[in-house]
Amino acid sequence: MAKMNMLQAINDALDTAMAANDRVLCFGEDVGVFGGVFRATSNLQQKYGKSRCFNTPLVEQGIIGFANGLAAQGSVPVAEIQFADYIFPAFDQIVNESAKFRYRSGNLFDVGRLTIRAPYGGGIAGGLYHSQSPEAYFAHTPGLKIVVPRNPHQAKGLLLGAIHDPNPTLFFEPKRLYRASVGDVPEGDYQLPLGEAEILKEGTDVTLLGWGAQMEVIEQAVEMAEKDGISCEIIDLRTILPWDADTVASSVFKTGRLVVTHEAPLTGGFAGEIAATIQERCFLYLESPIARVTGLDTPFPLVLEKEHLPNHLKVYDAIKASVDF
């Protein structure tokens, strides 16, 4: 065990994967000698050479196209997109290609070895284009897996899980926590399971569900709510696609209430999918409407980002409203 921040944990995961298998490659804009603009790939080129960790030209559609080809060939590409806001030029390669490669070929070919890493989320004064949380854009795409870690321990274990998973996986990293989140991280290889939500805290009155940086927000809100005598169950979804509806439904059967929160705008956000599924599965158990606490239905603002973001006070209010319904 070592104390690490999230960036170090991610770097350690990549290092671990590259040491274990020389087919693992890391590449993207500025990931080579510089180690990435956030330094997630620090020292990997120095350690594993320029052919396994390198800068690419500045073209996201090319990076993912290249990565798809590499994965089909049998290599294990871990491609970095510098900011999740810049993943959209690669949307076609991800949604029409990565996601459908196995299905369309009848399993003759696949790109299951592909992992795409990208920092996402707000709270760093990034404005429209350094703050987006695009997970829901991809969650409508059968064939992809989508993972979001909440802390360094999770980040390393889930990233190794994603790299080993035989399906193309998007790994969105909450960049607000890159240096802010510090914790114990086991040494060596360990993999956390994809597709399984984690119950962080049991409770009986209301279920709180989120992922990534929102878990911290949820914890703050729950602290306030529990002072009011409300018993909260906290779930980290961890994998957005395919998501663990069973764990969420079981919790709601018990609590009868659900508050889901994410940073992305409300409309079309993944909380909608969760609410739609849970209202169906838990219809007779629900004691109040499923609440969504999210960003506004606007592009991401800068100066008033605090007002825009679903912080602990908004989550707390939603808990209260749910319980008082």
Binding site: G62, G65, F66, G69, Y103, S105
Partner: protein
Amino acid sequence: MSTTTKSGVSHTPKFTDGAEFRIPTFKMLKQDGKLYKGVKEPDLDREKALRIYRAMITTRVLDERMLAAQRQGRLSFYMQCTGEEAAVIGSTAALDDADMIMAQYREQGALAYRGFTIDEFMNQLFGNELDYGKGRQMPIHYGSSKLNYMTISSPLATQIPQATGYAYGQKLAGDGHCTIVYFGEGAASEGDFHAALNMATVHRVPVIFLCRNNGYAISTPATEQFAADGVAPRAYGYKMDVIRVDGNDILAVHEATRAARRMAVEENRPVLIEAMSYRLAAHSSSDDPSGYRSKDEEAVWREKDPILRMRHWLEHRQWWSEDEEKHLQETLRREVLETMKRAEKRPPPPLESLVTDVYDTVPPALQAQFEKLKVHIRKYPEAYPKSASHAKGGS
């Protein structure tokens, strides 16, 4: 110092559009089957020449029969390679059979050359239970892992950067193989093309980009696709080796690709080949070219038929005869018809093919959707004739 250019200096503001740096078209074989003056006999033995020729005829016969089948309503859709057989087969034949092929959709000739059987073609075309693609894609979306032919994907140009990546993997593997990627002059307008070429030269990747410039992207003539003289000059922008070749000249295509493969594999130099040809048929069975081009124009190109040109050459060498031609054509026609009959009668893929291969295993929520679907089909079997019997089994 990254902005130092190796170019010289000028003190007058001169503009250039590069139009004067023409890329000539490499030709070896005349339409009458004789070599151009000064061209030496190609290094192509009889066995290989006949393998190429048979693949060309197979492609032509298949295309003719299947278009007819489509017209009869037996097939939903078809696309012909007609006119471009030399560009496709001549290049594939210059490779090692273990090299990877990433095609666009009009390259059935490459598969025919590698030995894809008529049965295999038919199973895909009819999407029956033996189709490797499990009846999921439209006709002509072939694939074969055995023959190193990547399954076709409809979105244009996506396979081009994938080929760069695939070839990078081959280079690291160090097994001396390369990738060839085929695409039309229309698809070369996509952003993915630009990314692929740039990354290939930056990362020194053993990949051959083979552009089939057949004059049209559906109805759009090449003159409305780009202002330059073809696609070849784009290679200059990436410092990529390029050659333009007469795409109807089997010998030139083969020779150019062989040289390109050597550069790719031995020196990690990616190469762009622009094969100048013409799409003699409609874009697809859904298209009617009379809306955008003249019969006269087509007739000019029909005169340049690449198959006939090769046949003349073979006959000059006495490697091929009228009788052999007749026999081959008849045998193939019969085989295609018989195989078609078999293939169209075969049952469709099983119901579970709807949900397998989305992931390596079926996730629980999808499995639940599938179980619900089966119950539904059992309730309304007459509405689902293709799968009602399949839905019976299971839970």
